[in-house]
Symmetry: C2
Subunit: 631 residues, 2 copies
């Protein structure tokens, strides 16, 4: 009657002291519930996304020291937990101390050595080195160790034998990616299976949330359990971890799969939880059915948790949001208001001569709907003063004494407005209010840099920058319909044409707005960044020639014909955005705020980029010439 406790804890990255306190507390709780084994997540002591903190030997020793406390606390219960393990006698390939991403098992104050392992812990075999993951930068894998020792991974990876009561259990110990072996030359799950009977598997993870991952994991891990004919316990952490530019929520969603691969325990998302399962009773348990929910419900939960924890981490209790009467700032306002409460949220509307009564009214209505703090700070005087100063201050070329003045074009004046709003008003208001101000950019704008640096692109966090425009609209509906249960984001804001209102050419009342045609460009841009095989103009133009653009992009049929009467128009649009995406937008993203990730691929550390300028392949140029000639 083995009782296993799955300890879904919040891991605070870079704070072994706090994590160890949580672990020690949850060990007590597990003992109080008569658990025989308690399982903690991967890297439960140090945290997972730490940048180059792994290069501080004193930090590694600190993690080892806290690990000793946990081992000592394993009395009357078996404790499984993730921590960094160092071998101070060996080096990594960077010349620094050898480090492993390790799975420890402690009993009676001692570590239990896995069969076959040269160390008293299991080493992570598969090291993700794509997307936001940098495991190979810091940790030596089991394969590399096997090579070094002149042996094979199969020789080093065997189940752990655990004596509990009068019985021996053979446990397959896995760390996160070890369970995702499809693209690797070996599968740790299979290797373990070939070493004789395994009573159950344990996968300890530090797995960031992204849309759709949980469903996929249930398929992959459920299959592994049923193939092996043994239960599998997946224990993930909750919390917020970041790589600087990209911020990840960890949703927990720890899961117990029975020997048939059914989900019998599914821990709640974003909540600490200690689920206790009796091994022999799993087959009699009903299967968990995840509730049917729209995608946006998951996104909302990730955003809400992410924003809340991010604010707590940086000790920010008050937030300022510049609202324009447009959809992005309105959704941001409703989201933050839900997190912080209306008294801690200051909305600021900053009209210039180009802002319509319509959007000024909608801003007011939004603020009233939320009941938060509100102020109106006109920017025209300041903008006029800036333009006047720039145009009337003499510029002297001192080598010959000639004088000239600067000319402010209308394009330059647009950006002066945007910077005046953010860097002058919002930054000042936020500091005076005792908080920060937000960046409300969406992913389409972020893709092509449709924003002003030090203007609307600035802020302490870009919470919506991993959402396409259509997802921002879906979130507006979800906030009104589900979260608030009333019209918080005014319908007028949902209906109005998206516009920056920075010039007379962007008059919303005349239906003039952004140059981005979201129903098409959301999907075009997505193909540049989110496809596993990233698309370039070459791919898009091939699809255009085939007449399969909408099918490949996943957007509404008929849009290409509607928007682009000719091949020339299609190509002009494609190049316009590709030039921005791979040009100025990169310069802007380099200086963008941290982005809260929800998609398969977020900007920042998950999509690394160099400021190398636009490029078109030879094949693209040939196909373009052909299409233009035919036209």
């Amino acid at each position: 009657m083995l009782k296993i406790a799955m300890a879904q804890m919040e891991v605070i990255p870079g704070h072994p002291d706090q994590n160890t306190a949580t672990i020690l507390r949850m060990i007590k709780q597990a003992k109080a519930q008569q658990a025989d084994i308690v399982i903690f997540p991967e890297m439960a002591v140090p945290g997972y996304l730490l940048g180059d903190t792994w290069e501080q030997p004193s930090f590694i020793r600190d993690c080892e020291s806290y690990g000793q406390d946990i081992i000592a606390a394993a009395q009357g219960i078996t404790v499984m937990f993730g921590n960094v393990a160092a071998d101070w006698t060996k080096k990594n390939n960077d010349g620094r101390v050898r480090k492993y991403n390790a799975f420890f098992t402690a009993q009676d104050g001692e570590l239990v050595q896995p069969d076959g392992s040269p160390y008293p812990f299991t080493i992570k075999t598969l090291m993700p080195n794509y997307r936001e993951f940098d495991d190979t930068r810091h940790f030596f894998s089991l394969q590399k160790l096997a090579r070094e020792l002149g042996t094979t991974p199969a020789q080093l990876l065997a189940p752990l034998t655990l004596s509990i009561g009068d019985q021996d259990y053979r446990v397959g110990c896995l760390l996160c990616e070890d369970g995702w072996s499809d693209d690797y030359e070996l599968s740790p799950v299979e290797l373990l299976r070939h070493q004789g009977k395994v009573d159950f598997y344990v996968n300890i993870s530090a797995s960031p949330y992204t849309l759709g991952k949980n469903g996929k994991r249930n398929r992959v891990f459920g299959h592994e359990a049923s193939e092996a004919g043994a239960p599998l316990f997946y224990v993930n952490c909750i919390g917020l971890q970041n790589n600087g530019k990209t911020v990840y929520t960890f949703d927990g969603s720890s899961t117990a799969y029975d020997a048939a691969g059914r989900v019998v325990i599914s821990a709640p998302e974003y909540k600490e939880s200690l689920a206790v399962v009796t091994l022999d009773e799993m087959e009699g348990m009903p299967a968990c059915q995840p509730p049917e929910e729209p995608e946006i419900a998951h996104i909302y939960r990730a955003l809400h948790y992410g924003v809340r924890r991010f604010l707590e981490n940086i000790h920010m209790k008050k937030v300022v949001i510049g609202i324009s009467g447009g959809i992005d700032s309105a959704v941001a306002a409703a989201l933050y208001c839900d997190v912080l409460g209306p008294e801690n949220l200051l909305l600021v509307n900053m009209p210039s001569v180009f802002n319509s009564e319509t959007t000024k009214g909608l801003s007011q209505q939004l603020a009233e709907n939320l009941g938060c703090r509100y102020m109106i700070v006109p920017i025209q005087h300041s903008v006029d003063h800036t333009i006047e100063q720039l145009e009337h201050t003499p510029v002297t070329l001192l080598e010959n004494g000639t004088k000239k003045s600067l000319q402010v074009s209308s394009f330059v004046a647009e950006n002066i407005q945007a910077r005046d709003r953010s860097a002058r008003v919002l930054a000042g208001a936020a500091a005076a209010f005792g908080g920060g101000f937000t960046c409300n950019a969406n992913k389409a704008e972020t893709t092509v840099g449709y924003s002003t640096l030090y203007g609307d692109q600035s802020g302490f966090l870009a919470a919506l920058a991993d959402l396409w425009k259509h997802q921002v609209y879906a979130l507006a509906h979800y906030l009104n319909d589900v979260v608030y249960g009333r019209e918080v984001v005014p319908q007028g804001i949902i209906d109005i044409v998206p516009s920056a209102e920075l010039s007379a050419a962007q008059n919303v009342d005349e239906g003039k707005g952004d140059p981005i045609k979201y129903p098409y460009h959301d999907y075009l841009f997505r193909s540049f960044i989110e496809r596993w095989q990233k698309a370039t103009p070459e791919d898009v133009l091939i699809w255009y020639a085939e007449g399969t653009v909408e099918e490949h992009l996943g957007c509404e049929k008929g849009l290409v014909a509607r928007y682009f009467p000719t091949a020339e128009a299609f190509i002009k649009d494609l190049e316009r955005w590709w030039n921005l995406f791979t040009g100025m937008a990169i310069a802007k993203r380099i200086q963008a705020p941290p982005i809260l990730a929800v998609s398969r691929r977020a900007y920042g550390f998950d999509h690394r980029e160099a400021q190398n300028g636009p490029y078109y392949t030879r094949k693209y140029r040939e196909l373009k010439a052909k299409l233009l000639q035919e036209a």
Copy 2:
């Protein structure tokens, strides 16, 4: 009489078309010089630092297609070059197409297959995965291939047999890191040596410049050549490549080592060059002696080349610099003026009530010395207007109608000034002038975030942000003494106390300035980032207790006693800066401009960091308690 041409070309990252044109041109030049072999750098076709462009299959196919052009051009000459190689039948561990960092050799329009290799190219064996390098993210190493094929690297790595004239030559083909094997379990150079006689080695590289690297390479590669008793040709590219946040110059410095390990050819830094060497005559050639130069001369060359190429890459011809009368902006002005000429440089002095006549005068003098464009834009009116607007605009809490106003503290007012200068004046002036404005931060300020976000921290490039303050001073002297040969940076700017002049507390005429004590903090901060084993407060406090702080940091003796009369004062200072370095400064660096790298460790992609807040190890806390108790 084998003649070998070392083609030190500029590689434009992400532009295979341009690189191939350069290669084809240099093949012709090499043929005109009767060379038998011409050698191009690693990744000469695609470039090296491309971010996730490697995830675009169309880009990979484009590189393959240009590779075919180069192979076809190998007529009457043997061409060696680096390119990406794809095996479209296999996958990488991320599920994308298999990619190798490959060394191609072409003769008579065909590839020459290396002995032992399953492919008609040599695969890079050692993959750097530290500092700014991400090789393992995209490329499959020879070791991984050996594992996949059930064999060993030794079986796959053999010299290439090259028939030229009537003779066969056995060539050891290496790619960059393959020559830096100290911390790896195998050495490609030794493996090749054990496969029989090697006539010469070729190491094709894409090796970014950092201070001191060339001297080290001459020791390591010279040793390899002499151990092997065979000449070694090291061919590196020139150019500018970047990882977004961090910008690297590639200095070339291609080198031929004779069989005794002597340097007999040393190509110029940062210049295209085609050096032709006759293999049999190398031993009779005189050894090259690198000129004796101070460190700052190398730094200046890297900065000058980096700034020039960065501007060219982004098509920026004009630059605006805000000058304060302080050292950082003065050095930046002198550097940019040297690159762009005085007519393309606009210096802007932006006094508030806190700016002294002293610094205003020094600014004017600097601009006159340079003879560039100059304007004075006072900011007091705008700052006063902003404070007045913020303090007098009612803030209404709409849920109950209560009104309040914001209060602008003197600290908030300091940042308002900084943002007014950069985001309002400089950004506007730069746009009107048709260029960008610079960030003049040094590395000490960047370490602790002693700057204002959207204020002095902003700009299109931070050219000095990898220089400690003492290096900025050294550069001022070098600019005056060597580059200009006259006093361009006024002596008054070199002598004045560094100060932000944002409040009455920072009065330069009273000798009041920055809280950073550069002679000590430069070195303390350096230990946090540049040491291979990164120091933390634990290490520093242990050194303090031992009385070895200055020795470990490498700063002037006696500074600790001079600055910190008590342990309490020492600890207070240490924690103040550590809290900033691992706290707010990370938030600022996330939004900082690209940094031009010159040191062993630059901020950005070379020093990855997460916004996780300050942490002190248990050992630190214990030692601190002990020291404070003793006091």
